[in-house]
Amino acid sequence: MTSDSLLRAFTLLLKRDLTLAIRHRAEILNPLLFFVLVTSLFPLGIGADPKLLQAVGPGVIWVAALLAALLSLEGIFRSDFEDGTLEQFLLSSHPVSVLVIAKVLAHWLITGLPLLVISPLLGVLLGLPGDAIMILLITLALGTPVLSLIGAVGVALTVGLRKGGMILSLLVLPLYVPLLIFAANAVDTAAVGLPVTAHLSLISALLVLSLSLSPLATAAALRISLS
């Protein structure tokens, strides 16, 4: 098996998932809509005082991003599991963890990237200063791939279950806590004009760690779920 054919399998899988997503546009739009909707509920719930909104804004946007990611996670493997494609991945001669990275990358492009694009708008709605919005963008750019990577492990473990959704949130949300803390804290810190390089380094470290470990765990979990 040459690395050439592995690369080909990777790009083919990525292209296939993106094509599927573009043909079902609701899959892209629904999490995005959810993200905007949840964020805009907060001013209605806690009052529209600009100072208050500015204080809770980073946390609110990040929690909404977490929930939107959670909502879309099942899409990574569910349909492939139902039509048997997933078994073919496991039977193929390519390392499953690399195929998993392709699936996760596709998931991020479909659901993570749109969040990134729309988040400055939400930042403005919640009255965040310009610097904070910039940092919000950076934390989302570094953080949303982590959401997809960690989430993939959870989905792989629950894909064979009929009522996997509730368990999935119980499995995945506690693992999102460090990211939420570092990211929301970074935006808060930026909003008062302090340097945030430490936060960004930690989020990058989380990204590197989850990129290197979670595909392996996901592959192992898939093998168990399909055994």
Binding site: L157, T158, G160, I167, L170, V177, L213, A217
Partner: protein, 246 residues
């Protein structure tokens, strides 16, 4: 020889017999340590100069919190052994640990909250260690509900092992992230490298209770594991014979 020993130990039947003989001894030692720990902790140890008598809940709270983390690591270790060497008994140990660990975590949270009321003035604060203990409880509940959701118990045990391993990588990260986020809890007083800042008259009951909790864990773990082994092996001959002779 060495291999043989492990294979013998890991056979469910051998485990069932040997654990049956061990359990009374462990239970007796556990009771003795509990009585000694409670006596020294509740009667002998002097009241704290600041916290009065209410600090005595520490003799339950601190060992429970230690156990909550210790058991998670044991569970992940046993799960890894089960995954790598396909030892059934390790899978049984891992899954039998989960609900004991969850109970200890819950106990630590409840006693912490009862202790917090007179000390900090509220039942709950979003303090670093309380929060990471709460997240640990969620991790345990995730493990338990995943195990219950999968019908085939061998598959379930392996899925749980992966989840526990992912959790064990994350626990230090969660712990430190929460620590930097907010802290109000008193610092560690027993494990400081130079000299523990806890007086010896309080340290002795604390350690007695810690050992009592460890033995209690071993005791309950063996009981649960025996049940689990019987249930899993119910179609084998030795379990049928056992059922007939009794």
């Amino acid at each position: 020889m060495f291999n043989n020993f492990f294979h013998k130990m890991a056979s469910p039947r051998y485990f069932y017999n040997i654990s049956g003989q061990l359990i009374p001894w462990i239970a007796a030692a556990c009771m003795a340590l509990f009585l000694a720990g409670l006596y020294y902790g509740l009667v002998k140890a002097p009241p704290d100069y600041q916290q009065g008598d209410s600090y005595r809940i520490m003799f339950i709270h601190v060992p429970a919190a230690w156990m909550s983390m210790f058991i998670y690591v044991v569970m992940a270790g046993a799960g890894a052994i089960g995954l790598i060497w396909h030892i059934k008994l390790a899978e049984v140990m891992a899954i039998s640990s989960a609900s004991i660990g969850a109970s200890f975590t819950f106990l630590a949270l409840v006693t912490g909250s009862i202790w917090g009321k007179p000390m900090w003035g509220t039942w709950w604060v979003w303090d670093a260690r309380l929060t990471s203990e709460l997240i640990l409880l969620f991790l345990y509940l995730g493990v338990i509900s995943l195990y219950n959701a999968i019908d085939d118990k061998r598959t379930a045990a392996r899925a749980v092992a992966i989840l526990a391993l992912v959790g064990v990588v994350n626990i230090p990260i969660i712990h430190y992230s929460v620590e930097w986020w907010n802290t109000l809890h008193q610092g560690p007083t027993v494990t400081k490298l130079d000299k523990p800042s806890i007086h010896i008259s309080m340290l002795i009951p604390l350690l007695l209770m810690a050992f009592a909790f460890k033995l209690y864990y071993a005791f309950v773990l063996l009981m649960r594991a025996r049940c689990e082994v019987l249930e899993r092996e119910r179609h084998t001959n030795w379990v049928k014979e056992l059922a007939e002779t009794k």
